[in-house]
């Protein structure tokens, strides 16, 4: 009996902690800071997607995001599938695909697992694995099939936004975003904030990576224990958190210096001098744009109609 309870507890602990421990490792191994940099870096290429009307590109994630809220999970997965299709058109680099896969699969597993553990449907509950009392006191009675399905549904909703936003991010020059925002009568500061963020995010990631290297070069032990050296992991976590505090000073100083220069440059180039900005960009609407607008409109209107008719609509209450 004790053996059985012990075994059940071990299995339960493994089930609860396996995913939270595997996901960061997966992220560090497969993506890391350099991967993250690649993800948010614009790839200048000559594809129809790059030439698409920037306004349509801004509307696309918003439109698809709305669709993802309206539908039940089966329809939801269809919407998610639709957002994958333009990626084949874009043909991103292998490095980007690798990072994207992790960024999609990681949250999917996390959502799927988290909801499976903690989402409790009304009884009768179908447990895939029921935890013993030694584990259940933590708040989860076990892994439920319904919870996992619910998790998948929630994750897919998030992934629709992630997939559409990433597609636009890697195929659109920030200047085009700014242009689109200005056409939508948004204040120039919105475009500038986005421009500065997207331009300097890769630089910031590079800098963080550099300072973490520097701290190791100075003799700070950042070496990770092997997965089975359980007694060394708490010490490693402590070292890691101390290191974050250490690197803050050079990061902060470097960032403040850079920001001061950037602010002077923006001032000198006349940012904020006029309420309405001019634009180098002129966009002549092409057949691809028209098709794009039409498809997006059909999808959104179709979704609203279906929702009104109760087909695939989410149940509230």
């Amino acid at each position: 009996m004790m053996n059985s309870l012990f075994a059940q507890t071990v299995i339960a602990y493994l089930l609860i902690f396996a995913v939270p421990m595997v996901l960061p490792v997966l992220f560090i191994k497969m993506v890391g800071l350099s991967g993250l940099r690649a993800l948010v870096t614009y790839e200048a290429r000559d594809t129809p997607l790059h030439k698409l009307d920037p306004r349509l590109k801004v509307l696309y994630p918003i439109g698809m995001g709305i669709l993802s809220i309206l539908f039940t999970w089966k329809f939801m997965l269809m919407v998610f599938g639709l957002t994958i299709l333009p990626w084949f058109w874009l043909r991103p680099s292998r490095a980007k695909i690798k990072v994207l896969m992790v960024m999609i699969i990681g949250p999917a597993i996390a959502g799927f697992w988290g909801q499976g553990l903690y989402y409790l449907p009304p009884p009768p509950i179908h447990f895939l694995y029921q935890f013993p009392w030694t584990m259940a006191w933590l708040g989860s009675p076990g892994i439920t099939s319904y919870g996992m399905i619910f998790g998948l549904q929630q994750t897919a909703r998030v992934l629709v936004t992630v997939s559409t936003s990433m597609l636009i991010l890697v195929s659109t020059d920030v200047g085009d975003f700014t242009w689109a925002f200005e056409r939508f009568r948004a204040p120039p500061h919105v475009g500038f904030a986005l421009t500065a963020a997207l331009r300097f995010l890769p630089e910031m990631i590079t800098r963080v990576s550099l300072v973490f290297r520097a701290v190791e070069l100075r003799g700070y032990d950042m070496s990770r224990p092997r997965w089975h050296q359980f007694n060394r992991w708490p010490e490693y976590a402590k070292r890691l958190s101390r290191c974050v505090i250490l690197v803050t000073v050079p990061l902060l100083i470097g960032t403040l210096r850079g920001t001061a220069t950037m602010a002077m440059v923006a001032d000198a180039r006349g940012f904020g001098a006029t309420k309405r900005r001019g634009s180098l960009r002129t966009h002549k609407t092409t057949a691809v744009d028209i098709w794009g607008y039409a498809i997006l409109a059909v999808l959104v209107v179709g979704a609203l109609v279906l929702n009104h008719l109760g087909i695939g609509a989410r149940y509230y209450g």
Partner: protein, 597 residues
């Protein structure tokens, strides 16, 4: 002065400026004028007020940088000091040192269009300005390129183009060459000259690299302690070395040589290698130089390609390749560094220098080959383990400081690692040796930039590493700081006998000090040998994006392949030439060298 001349002229009239809270003024009674089409070189020791003057000249003082300003900066009859930055920038444009911080947009053309767009100009006008700016800076072919993919020179030229798009009459550039390799620097200087000569733009270049700017400048301004010491045409400015020595600022090598060998270059002070070579062609100087070179050749003893040290190398790269996104940054490099050697790795930006040295501490992973430290393979990713043996000083030394006091900084490495049993330099000795006595309790951030670099170096050395790897340690430093850093390295070597590997663009200073130079081009070793021999290969160096030091180029220009092992110190060259003129030759001993095709 005529009305026509003053109309487009930038003037600083008795300008003094003190930053908020500063005890001393950074600028003191500065008077300066810049006419359209003029190229002015402003130089001086670090902290002499050059960058502050630049900010004042373009109106960012006092509008964005606050403090107490006296005197006035005028463009023609218009005072700049009271203008808004975007108004002033249409008269005087400013290009900052680090192009990464001033390129806000993602592509070249959107960066250049940013200013005119902010001015709400009509689209055809914006397009015309973008076209002109990209054309004049030679960036037209890269208009849709992403900024992150540009080289240093291309980024700086994009920054210039973006500043020019505001249509300034005067362009002020604060150390535009400091992060650039020699080829990138020449690209930028050629652009500036085109602007001045063809476009009539006044150009003010603030720079430590006087050798490269000297041939292009119409006037040279020397600053010291916030004031202007000297403001003259280049030949007049350098006719008397006294003020330069007093200000601790270097002068071009050709000028120094002309002073060291009086009369050899005629009455006209040479500012460039070409001018110097033209002046001494078919004269006694050329004959004496040839005789000295022949004598050195005859004295050469060690056969080419032979490693003089029979001990195993301290560092070695065996058939090492590194790939990033399918591209080879390092391509099948085989190299060995012996105990106690001082080796300089040179090459254009992106030639693989930093990647190669990073591998010695486990930064990065070779796609092929092995890197070894004293025969043991370096394991990728194990930076903490390898950093105990190989100390890597990053270019941004500030990024290597993490503690609150100088002493804690020096002790930092012993948190996780035992103190060396027999340190060549322990912490109290390092405090003395590196000049921190009495400042142990100070914050590292209270030290000067040079002081912070010394501290980072000291903190690495107390760990008793076997090799010191320096990544661009002299970038942006003035001649005095560079000399004192080189002296410090000499003292460190004399004290510890440590092996030094430097990655550098500083061909004239740091690379010339090394005993051996390795030239990298497109990830491969293109030349490897004694410094004096590799720098004689001017043509090969240019092919791989490197300019030999001016003295080496002069010898190659005059003697061709017969130059052999070139002399790299002005005094050394002057003595050799003068000795042969008198028929009393001195012999220097060159080493071996191998040129790889």
């Amino acid at each position: 002065m005529s009305e026509a001349r003053t109309a487009g002229e930038l003037r600083a009239d008795d300008v003094s400026f003190a930053y908020v809270g500063a005890a001393r003024a950074s600028l003191r009674h500065v008077n300066l004028s810049v006419a359209p089409g003029e190229v002015i070189l402003i130089t001086g020791a670090s902290g002499c007020g050059k960058s502050t003057l630049a900010l004042a000249l373009c109106g960012l003082i006092p509008s964005r940088v606050h403090g107490e300003l006296r005197g006035r900066v005028m463009f023609g009859a218009t005072p700049l000091s009271g203008m808004k930055p975007h108004e002033a920038s249409q008269l005087v444009g400013m290009v900052f040192q680090n192009p990464n911080l001033q390129l806000i947009n993602q592509t070249v053309q959107s960066e250049v269009a940013f200013g005119p767009e902010n001015l709400a100009l009509p689209q055809p006008e914006i397009a015309a300005r973008v076209d002109w700016c990209l054309d004049v800076t030679g960036m037209a072919g890269m208009r849709t390129a992403a900024v992150v993919t540009l080289s240093g020179g291309q980024k700086q030229r994009t920054a210039i183009a973006a500043t020019l798009a505001m249509r300034p009459r005067i362009l002020v550039l604060d150390e535009p060459l400091s992060d650039l390799d020699p080829v990138g620097a020449q690209e930028v200087l050629a652009t500036l000259q085109r602007l001045a000569r063809n476009g009539g733009t006044g150009v003010v270049v603030i720079e430590h690299r006087v050798d490269e700017v000297a041939p292009w400048a119409d006037r040279v301004v020397l600053m010291d302690d916030g004031g202007i010491v000297l403001d003259q045409p280049p030949r007049a400015a350098w006719a008397e070395p006294g003020p330069w020595r007093a200000a601790g600022v270097g002068i071009p090598d050709m000028v120094r040589l002309a002073h060291a060998v009086p009369g050899a270059f005629g009455s006209r002070l040479p500012l460039s290698v070409v001018e110097a070579a033209d002046a001494v062609k078919d004269t006694w100087f050329e004959a004496a130089l040839a005789a000295a070179a022949a004598e050195r050749r005859n004295a050469a003893g060690v056969p080419a390609g032979q490693r003089p040290d029979p001990r195993p190398p301290v560092l070695s790269w065996d058939g090492v390749s590194v790939e990033f996104d399918g591209k080879r940054a390092v391509d099948d490099v085989t190299l060995a560094v012996d105990e106690g050697e001082w080796v300089a790795l040179i090459g254009a930006n992106g030639s693989g220098k930093s990647t190669l040295t990073g591998l010695t501490v486990g930064l990065g992973k070779p796609s092929a080959g092995v890197v070894r430290f004293r025969g043991r393979p370096v394991r990728p990713g194990k930076v903490f383990d390898h950093a105990a043996h190989v100390a890597l000083l990053l270019q941004a030394a500030d990024d290597m400081l993490f503690e609150t006091t100088v002493r804690k900084e020096l002790e930092f490495g012993f948190r996780f690692r035992a103190r060396p049993e027999d340190p060549v330099l322990d912490v109290p000795e390092a405090v003395e040796f590196f000049g921190f006595a009495g400042r142990e309790a100070d914050s590292p951030w209270e030290l000067s930039q040079g002081g912070r670099q010394r501290l980072a170096l000291a903190a690495l050395l107390v760990g008793a590493p076997g090799v010191l790897v320096l990544d661009e340690p002299t970038t942006g430093q003035d001649a005095t700081h560079m000399r004192s850093f080189l002296r410090l390295l000499d003292r460190v070597r004399a004290r510890t006998g440590i092996t030094i590997v430097t990655v550098t663009h500083d061909i004239r200073g740091l690379a010339s000090r090394a005993a051996r130079v390795v030239l990298l081009g497109e990830g491969q070793v293109r030349a490897d040998g004694p410094t004096s021999r590799v720098f004689a290969m001017s043509g090969d160096l240019i092919r791989w994006g490197v300019l030999a030091p001016p003295l080496a180029r002069l010898q190659s220009e005059l003697l061709g392949p017969a130059a052999g092992d070139v002399l790299l110190e002005v005094d050394e060259l002057a003595s050799a030439v003068l000795a042969h003129r008198r028929g009393t030759a001195r012999v220097t001993s060159p080493g071996s060298g191998v040129l790889r095709p």
